[in-house]
Symmetry: C2
Subunit: 449 residues, 2 copies
């Protein structure tokens, strides 16, 4: 039942573009969903894609543009005049239009806004572009259906029909007082099942969840998830209803945040995709690798310091990759659990009880792993004191790694820094260094070299 983008279809489209056969193209694309047209455009070069965008009606292409990957969209917009861009923006929801404007060069931004005839929309866009794009103000759209407490149901339905034409999807209907302060909501279901003669003040629900323009996007996401909201109204500092955020925008936001955390944990510092250019991918990956390299070089330094032990205890040096790997793995595990817990607000209780928990957890893991190492050492015929040194320092390293992995994110979070940056290479590298240092010091104590 779904549309499948085949190579034949792409070839056919490309041919029609070469022949400049607008009529056949229009007909061929008329039955296709804008999200599928976006997929198609991503397969074309930007000149071809621009031709298609210019050919189709703005009410389709405005949606198509929003579905495109940011770099593809940028290339197409570069080929459009400010007037053509303005035509697309007028058809978009205001939150999308504001996002697109933010992607343009400042000079072009002004030209585009000047081309927008609808002065209210132009003012909305200027206002929306001033909010941080991760705040509720930056995520909200201006379009919504609102009714006033004082209206009758009949008047309300008339007014709603008018307003609904500008709104892609009606979720809740918001209720305000005469001045425009948010006072409640009206659910569609209540409206459907209400007697025709009721008044708004009779049937509206005076309790409504809302956020302010300043609220952080992650908090908006949590609120909407917790209370299963499909849309949430946004008010300004005075409590005036200024916009709403819908769940479909939040789905994109939640997914992007999850992917970013995952990339940070994997040591990728910019938002990249598998199909980005080699240069972009290098820029996202190389800095973390350099960090890891510095950690490795620190390990070289440390081992040079203990070189005297090489003659009698060469085996200690063979264990360094294992020690570093364990320190890194334990640190990443601990930090991942804490970062997710912080994001979902499940990290409760005192820091001390968390410390005790991590300590017992790492003791269990450490002792189990140390026993395995000692057994292995006996098999390969190492002296007992060497096995003891490696086993004890392994336990110490695991305890250290899990404490660092747990508390660095917590401390960052307390200071208002995103704890996700502490996962991945950062924790791995620092744990590598500390791990090897602790390992050699403890071994030195036990083996007296």
């Amino acid at each position: 039942m779904q549309f499948q983008l085949t190579t034949e279809f792409i070839d056919q489209i490309e041919q029609l573009i070469v022949q400049r056969d607008g009529r056949a193209l229009k007909e061929l694309l008329s039955e296709i969903h804008f999200a599928d047209i976006a997929d198609l455009l991503e397969e074309l070069n930007s000149e071809e894609a621009t031709y298609v965008i210019k050919l189709l009606e703005s009410d389709i292409t405005s949606d198509t543009l929003m579905e495109l990957d940011e770099d593809v969209r940028e290339k197409i917009l570069d080929r459009l005049s400010p007037k053509e861009i303005a035509q697309e923006l007028v058809e978009m929801d205001s939150d999308d239009a504001a996002d697109v404007i933010a992607e343009l060069d400042e000079e072009v931004q002004e030209q585009v806004i000047e081309e927008i005839q609808d002065e209210e929309l132009a003012a909305d866009l200027v206002e929306l572009s001033q909010y941080d794009d991760k705040s509720a103000g930056g995520l909200m759209a201006r379009e919504l259906v609102k009714v006033k407490e004082t209206w009758t149901i009949a008047g309300c339905v008339r007014e709603m029909r008018r307003q609904a034409k500008n709104v892609t999807r009606v979720h809740s209907i918001y209720v305000t007082d005469k001045e425009g302060h948010l006072t409640g909501r009206l659910s569609l279901k209540d409206l459907l099942t209400a007697p025709d003669k009721a008044h708004i003040s009779d049937i509206f629900i005076p309790k409504v969840d809302y956020v302010t323009v300043e609220t952080d996007g992650e908090d908006v996401a949590k609120l909407m998830q917790k209370y299963d909201l499909e849309a949430i109204p946004v008010v300004d500092e005075e409590g005036m209803l200024v916009g709403r955020i819908t769940i479909d925008d939040m789905v994109d936001f939640i997914k992007e945040e999850a992917e970013r955390d995952y990339q940070l944990a994997a040591g990728i510092s910019e938002d990249v995709e598998a199909d980005d250019s080699v240069l972009l991918l290098t820029r996202a990956r190389l800095p973390w690798l350099v960090l890891g390299l510095i950690g490795g070089l620190a390990a070289v330094f440390i081992m040079q310091d203990f070189e005297a032990a090489l003659d009698r205890y060469a085996i200690l040096f063979f264990y360094t990759p294992l020690i570093a790997a364990m320190a890194g793995n334990v640190g990443v595990q601990s930090s991942a659990i804490i970062v997710q817990g912080l994001a979902n607000d499940v990290v409760k209780g005192s820091l001390f009880s968390r410390f005790v928990k991590e300590l017992s957890l790492s003791l269990i893991n450490g002792i189990s792993l140390a026993l395995l190492v000692v057994a292995f050492n006996q098999i390969i015929g190492q002296p007992v004191n060497v096995s003891l040194a490696i086993g004890v320092s392994l336990i110490a390293v695991i305890i250290m790694a899990s404490i660092i992995g747990t508390f660095v994110p917590i401390l960052l979070d307390k200071r208002g820094v995103d704890p996700a940056i502490a996962t991945g290479p950062f924790i791995t590298t620092s744990n590598d260094i500390f791990g090897i240092l602790i390992y050699f010091y403890i071994s030195k104590l036990i083996l007296h070299f």
Copy 2:
């Protein structure tokens, strides 16, 4: 404007429970959202929580139960009789009720279903529980608003008002033919703006996205995101409309999947939270650490094999943590990008072109990092041939790691295995071993030991 769960409030609730003061408790909790009551119950012990659940009306507690963490819910359900559980289930959406039933012991399941008076619901629940919980059948709810093509608008509105009472939220209204085959949809907006005298067949949209009960949950999520759907109907093999999936359920699903991928990447094999027990956390973490340990022990073996080089080239051994770390980091980066790309369908083009891309990417990264290492080696006064050996093998190791990191997930995906399991410790460990092996072989070639 939001409810804040304070220690004082919890204390007050606990005191009222001890005093068995049901009336005061009911009054205190009457104004509180069910999701907040769930947060409260998670702070109480299971006996206290069960008291609250039994005290409040089922239409509140059924929602509260669904918001609870699975282990908390399980403890409470253990304290309820099959009849009491059945009372809760009747108030739930059928998808939630089916999920709860699946969590019960088989024996209790049967007793609970016997206690459900509504035979249609009981049959629905039995049917729903048969689907895989990650398929559309397992995710869907039976409740929806459907109208028949042949109805008049007047009859439709009457019927919809009746149906809407059983549905928490009305999204699209689905249209079927006389037999119940899905034929289209009716949007609420169209209904609001349609002239009162139209017929269903005049205003319904004969095109509708749908999935079958067999469709994989991830595909449902992609479809709903791509086309910005708030609900999608589910049909059986014959095309009969059997249920619908709403976006709020998909938000939870998407988030859980993202968290699971993240945990897999961090080497955590079970779905755990920061507040789970030490035992559960150990079970989720220890297996991956043992895997890492095996990798480390393999490295010990390899180095023992090259022990002869120790006298002249001890520095080579000092570099092993760096080599292992680089192999691991590069592998994790590559696999994370590919796993995300596969999940989002952006991995296009031939395997060969991807190979060329990874090769050029790792050459750039490899050469940059090798130059840094050579510079460092010159500073600490190592001979040029040793620097050369380390630099060249570093490049080779990075190439190998990025090829393995890229193609293992692709191959797993082609064989229908979730590629996310290839990220994290699995790739790190194998890359550690191969990395150190390659490193010593190349060094041996260059330094002739």
